[in-house]
Structures are given as structure tokens and as C-alpha cells.
């Protein structure tokens, strides 16, 4: 995905649950999101769209679903 921002979430994840959450929030914010890595301790998402909404996406996903714990968020190509 060209021009995408890669956001790396680390913590403790139920992968299916977090990926569903990510895709739901991306749809709501009209962003394109692609999961690049999905393990129980790291989820990487390439996301593109309006910058303000990418920021909102990062903020929304930093909370995550109830069964996941996000300990850190960083941008890979920032």
C-alpha cells in the first residue's frame, strides 16, 4: 500500500479480536488498512487516508477491544 503509515501496536492480543477491531475502526474512518503482522504480542497495520483520521485511528486502536492490552504504539516510518 503506497504512502501508507505503518502503525505498530505491541502488548497482549487476541489476534482475531484485535484485527476485527482494527478493520472496523478503519471502515468507520474511511481508511484503507492492511494487516502486515499479527502475533499475540505485536500487530502491524499499514493504513492510509486523511492524516487527521489516521491519527484518530491510532488513538482508537490504542484502546483496543476489551480482551487486548496495548502497551505501546509507534509509527514505523515516522
Amino acid at each position: 500500500m503506497q504512502g501508507a503509515t505503518v502503525i505498530v501496536f505491541t502488548g497482549q492480543f487476541h489476534v482475531e479480536s484485535f484485527v476485527e477491531f482494527v478493520n472496523h475502526r478503519a471502515r468507520r474512518l474511511q481508511l484503507e488498512a492492511m494487516i502486515e503482522t499479527a502475533t499475540p504480542d505485536c500487530i502491524e497495520v499499514a493504513v492510509s487516508g486523511q492524516p487527521a483520521l489516521v491519527d484518530a485511528f491510532e488513538m482508537a486502536c490504542s484502546l483496543g477491544p476489551i480482551d487486548c492490552l496495548v502497551r505501546d504504539v509507534r509509527r514505523k516510518n515516522a
Binding site: 471502515r27 468507520r28 474512518l29 474511511q30 486523511q50 487527521a52 483520521l53 484518530a56 482508537a60 484502546l63
Partner: protein, 240 residues
């Protein structure tokens, strides 16, 4: 949970430019009235961070979330995000809504999110209604209906003969002579219900005297349903 029209508020209690929170079958709803006078029933949840919209502010024809000020128009579409004033807000950011209508001085909602109500509300409008009050009962809606079918209508202005009761979905009508009391039952949860009580007829006829009488009748009914010992005593007080 049966699909249908359910009461969620007394219309008069919902002033222009205000919002309130309520529940229907355990789901949280915001009921709000815009500055043009139209009422709206939505899921009580801002799509941004999940804050209750019933805590928010109504400004003109928008309701704004208390948390970050995201503003939603009357179609539930987000139109403005204060942190990003120049942002073209995508159409995907919107609140889930319930079909709603005002009838008999009561706000009704169809209990399916983001649906078009498949049937019209069947309640016939009255020429005028006098609002009495909403009452909250620690009992299921089914238990409330069981009590209502046995209740007697208190005499108002034009009583005569025995009370005639009829039920249409969530509404029970009590007629006595030309007096008519209407009680709409809102299932808040499996164990809680709300009664929205109105009198058919103009407030000019059913002023505070009838309202007080019906209000006391409603309280007695609640005590009866909840099983408190004062119930029978209070019923005697409002009896003819």
C-alpha cells in the same frame, strides 16, 4: 425481545435543545429534541470513543458529544470534529439510530437499530392529551401488564360505569365514561419497566386535579406491582 414500537419518553418532558438517556431491553438510548422540535432516538454511544451522547449538548440541529465535541446532525451523520475543523468528515462516521415517532404525547421507538420500521405505529392519535408523568418500576414489563389488566380507572371528570380496558402492543387504555387514561409500558430490562402515563383530553379540562389523581393512581399501581405493603392503603385513598 419482541420487535415493535415501544415508548421511550413523555414528549412534553423532552424540551427543545435537550437530551436524555434511557434503556430499552437493556440497550442504552439517547432521546433528544432538536431546535426545530423534532425528536430523535439513537444508540447512546458516540462512535469516536463510546461516550454516552445523552451526556452531550444540543446546539441548533446538532448533538455534540461531551468528550471531544464531535457533532452529529439530525440524520446522525458526524459533521464537525473540533480538533480537525478543516477535515472533510467521512460519511462512515455516524451514530446508529432507531426509527421513532411521537404519538399520544409519547415518543416511541422501533427497537431495531438502523432499520426502516416495517410497519406503521397502530395507535390512533387523540385530539389532545394531558401528560401526567413517567414512573419507574422494579418489575418486568410482563408483570406490569398483569397488574394493569386488573387495575381500575380512577374517576376524573366524566366517569360512569365500569372501567373498560384495552391493550394495543405496549399501550393500555382505561376508559370510564368519557374519561380515558393511557399507560405506555417501556421494558427497560428484564426486571425493570417504565410507565408513561397520559390522559386523553385537553389540559384545560384535565388540569392539575386530574393529573394529581392519576399520578397517585400510578404510584399505587407501582407499589402493587413491586409488592410493597402500602399499596392497598394508597389505592383506597384514590378510590371514589
Amino acid at each position: 425481545m419482541e420487535t415493535g414500537w415501544y415508548p421511550v419518553a413523555l414528549a412534553e418532558g423532552l424540551e427543545r435543545g435537550t437530551s436524555t438517556g434511557t434503556r430499552l431491553f437493556g440497550r442504552e438510548l439517547v432521546v433528544w429534541r432538536d431546535s426545530a422540535g423534532a425528536s430523535h432516538v439513537w444508540e447512546d454511544r458516540c462512535p469516536h470513543r463510546g461516550m454516552r451522547l445523552s451526556f452531550g449538548f444540543v446546539r441548533d440541529n446538532h448533538i455534540a458529544c461531551l468528550y471531544h465535541g464531535w457533532q452529529y446532525d439530525t440524520a446522525a451523520q458526524c459533521r464537525y470534529i473540533p480538533a480537525h475543523p478543516d477535515l472533510a468528515v467521512p460519511g462512515t462516521i455516524r451514530v446508529a439510530t432507531y426509527p421513532s415517532i411521537e404519538r399520544l404525547g409519547i415518543v416511541w421507538a422501533w427497537n431495531e437499530l438502523d432499520s426502516a420500521a416495517p410497519q406503521e405505529i397502530e395507535l390512533a392519535e387523540r385530539a389532545a392529551v394531558t401528560p401526567v408523568r413517567s414512573l419507574y418500576v422494579d418489575a418486568s414489563a410482563a408483570k406490569v401488564f398483569d397488574a394493569l389488566v386488573l387495575a381500575e380507572c380512577p374517576p376524573l371528570k366524566n366517569a360512569g360505569g365500569a372501567t373498560q380496558r384495552s391493550r394495543t402492543d405496549a399501550l393500555v387504555s382505561f376508559k370510564n365514561g368519557t374519561d380515558e387514561i393511557l399507560v405506555a409500558v417501556q421494558p427497560l430490562s428484564d426486571v425493570e419497566a417504565a410507565l408513561h402515563i397520559v390522559i386523553a383530553g385537553s389540559p384545560d379540562i384535565h388540569g392539575s386535579d386530574s393529573q394529581k389523581r392519576v399520578s397517585a393512581w400510578g404510584e399505587a399501581l407501582r407499589r402493587d406491582v413491586e409488592g410493597t405493603p402500602q399499596a392497598r392503603e394508597l389505592r383506597h385513598e384514590v378510590a371514589p
